[in-house]
């Protein structure tokens, strides 16, 4: 691999990862707020029409998730695509080239164990690590957030337990933090037993790493928080982080309604129905 494949300028690209505790691609305000953040990060790298790609590997590439991703991004200025490793037979794709052409790669939730096993089988991890070093934003929720860390708490085998991740980010992450008490308890136990400390993320809370240093916390829902979790003198300490609130953009459907309403109003004015 030649060293100048990524950038023509000498600047080192900023490495960015957005880890989300849990969300969906729906029209609910908090979900729209998360989408808006993903799009903003992609735009910062790729300009007005960034390329965003979903890797739904962790849940076995189900069509519902892929469809919800496309409907969330279809009406926004971007080029959405998906890489479905289980469906490549029907839609062949130059995996490496496609992933390295993206501005943002989003990894869906599901089984962290399966995610990493399938990535290993297809040699995806090295491509993603290169993408990260080239400044392509890596993002994801649940298993798709924990995979970037040294370790996470997965329920891939049924019960919540610790599992190793790719280790692009040091420390550990636990998702669905206060939403799944069993997972949080397993995390606190694991950190108490010597697993490297890290973060807990409620659904709709996120952490954004931009370059070196500490991440910034964001939240798309009031009450959803990010926590720093560590072990101090044999005791596990959990401290909430101050988070920036992500407002929800107006939904596309509403904008259409407004446009329709204005059209009718104008017509009525012209017809002299309204004062």
């Amino acid at each position: 691999m030649s060293g100048n494949g990524g950038l023509s300028t000498g600047a080192t690209p900023v490495r960015r990862i957005l880890a989300l505790g849990g969300h969906e691609f729906s029209s609910r305000p908090a979900d729209r707020a998360v989408c808006e953040l993903l799009l903003r990060l992609a735009r910062e790298r790729g300009g007005e029409r960034p390329r965003v790609c979903i890797l739904p590997t962790a849940s076995g590439d189900p069509s519902e998730l892929i469809a919800s991703f496309y409907s969330a991004f279809a009406e926004r200025p971007c080029e959405p695509s998906d890489v479905s490793l289980f469906r490549l037979g029907r839609r062949p794709l130059a995996l490496r080239d496609h992933l390295l052409e993206q501005d943002l790669v989003y990894v869906g939730g599901g089984s962290m164990l399966n995610l990493l096993a399938v990535w290993e089988a297809h040699d995806i991890a090295s491509i993603l690590s290169l993408a990260w070093r080239r400044g392509i934003v890596l993002a994801g929720q649940s298993a798709g957030a924990m995979c970037w860390f040294e370790a996470g708490i997965t329920k891939s085998s049924g019960k919540a337990r610790a599992a190793a991740g790719l280790g692009l980010l040091s420390g550990s992450l636990c998702v669905h933090y206060n939403n799944e008490p069993e997972r949080r308890a397993a995390y606190l136990d694991a950190v108490g037993d010597g697993m490297p400390g890290g973060y807990g993320l409620d659904d709709y809370a996120g952490l954004l790493w931009e370059g070196e240093g500490s991440p910034s916390a964001v939240t798309a829902r009031r009450g959803a928080r990010a926590y720093r979790v560590g072990s101090r003198e044999g005791e596990v300490v959990e401290s909430p982080l101050a988070a920036r609130f992500l407002p929800a953009p107006a939904p596309a459907a509403l904008r259409e309604d407004i446009a329709e309403f204005r059209r009718i109003k104008t017509m009525r004015k012209r017809a002299g129905w309204l004062g």
């Binding site: 599901g110 399966n114 096993a117």
Partner: protein
């Protein structure tokens, strides 16, 4: 203690996944089960546990003639908690098609590879099509994505394998090239043909279509030798539904 024979039925393609309305191959594997109402477990891992595929399995293997189940490795919280016990208690394990690379990756992650070997050794019949055929062999030709590639399987059968072995197909050409490049000899099957192994020996080739065939491939000198294997069409009235097998095991041994 008597041991049940180890059996694998590797479909080149066919069964409910590919031949809707033609149950000949599915009936054949079900007929190999020792029980009156066989326990059959579907492993759809190669498709990422696609819902529509699981539904089609339950429609094809309806509960009036067998005891069907499936294992979703992407949704472990919903399935049987003791996977090994569940797999070892089956009469038949049916592996679906899809990506064999992903299949083997996911299986390794959950330790399914060693459980399947154990199941095979204890007499559970293993079968499957496409990726679900390639996986049992030492080496395989996968054409799932892009150019056909060589791949290592679980190695229960010490041969190479190629599925969807149709005339003029890329897989066929690639298989021949791989053999010349040193891949071990093995077996290929066209869509509708299935290779039935008892132990590590090919016992017979059966087919759900009159023209479908299985093949033995080897290298002699610098040439690939392809031998067509006499195939039993299961739609013939005279066709024996299942190979005669040694006496049944009384019960599946309970895992320790």
């Amino acid at each position: 203690m008597k041991t049940a024979p180890r059996q694998i039925v590797a479909f080149g393609g066919g069964g409910f996944s590919m031949e809707s309305g033609n149950p000949l191959l599915d009936d054949y594997v079900l007929g190999l089960a020792r029980a009156e109402r066989p326990r059959i477990c579907f492993l759809p891992s190669a498709s990422g546990d696609a819902d529509h595929y699981i539904v089609r399995f339950y429609r094809a293997f309806s509960a009036h003639r067998c005891e069907p189940s499936h294992v979703s490795l992407f949704r472990r919280e919903q399935g049987p908690s003791d996977l090994r016990r569940h797999l070892l208690s089956q009469d038949l394990i049916y592996v679906g098609g899809g990506s064999v690379v992903s299949l083997l990756g996911v299986w390794r992650a959950h330790g399914i590879d060693s459980m399947l070997r154990e199941a095979w050794e204890s007499g559970v019949v293993l079968c499957g099509l496409s990726a679900g055929s390639l996986c049992w062999f030492a080496e395989a030709v996968t054409g799932f994505h892009g150019e056909p590639k060589r791949l290592r399987g679980l190695g229960l059968l010490p041969f190479s394998n190629c599925v969807h072995y149709e005339r003029g197909s890329k897989r066929r050409q690639s298989y021949h090239r791989f053999l010349l490049e040193g891949m071990r000899g093995g077996y290929a099957a066209e869509d509708g043909a299935a290779l039935h192994f008892v132990g590590e020996e090919l016992s017979r080739v059966v087919a759900s279509r009159p023209q479908a065939r299985g093949y033995r491939l080897d290298v002699a000198g610098r040439r690939v030798v392809e031998m067509r294997i006499a195939t039993t069409y299961l739609g013939d009235r005279e066709a024996v539904p299942a190979a005669p097998l040694p006496e049944a095991l009384a019960t599946a041994s309970a895992p320790g």
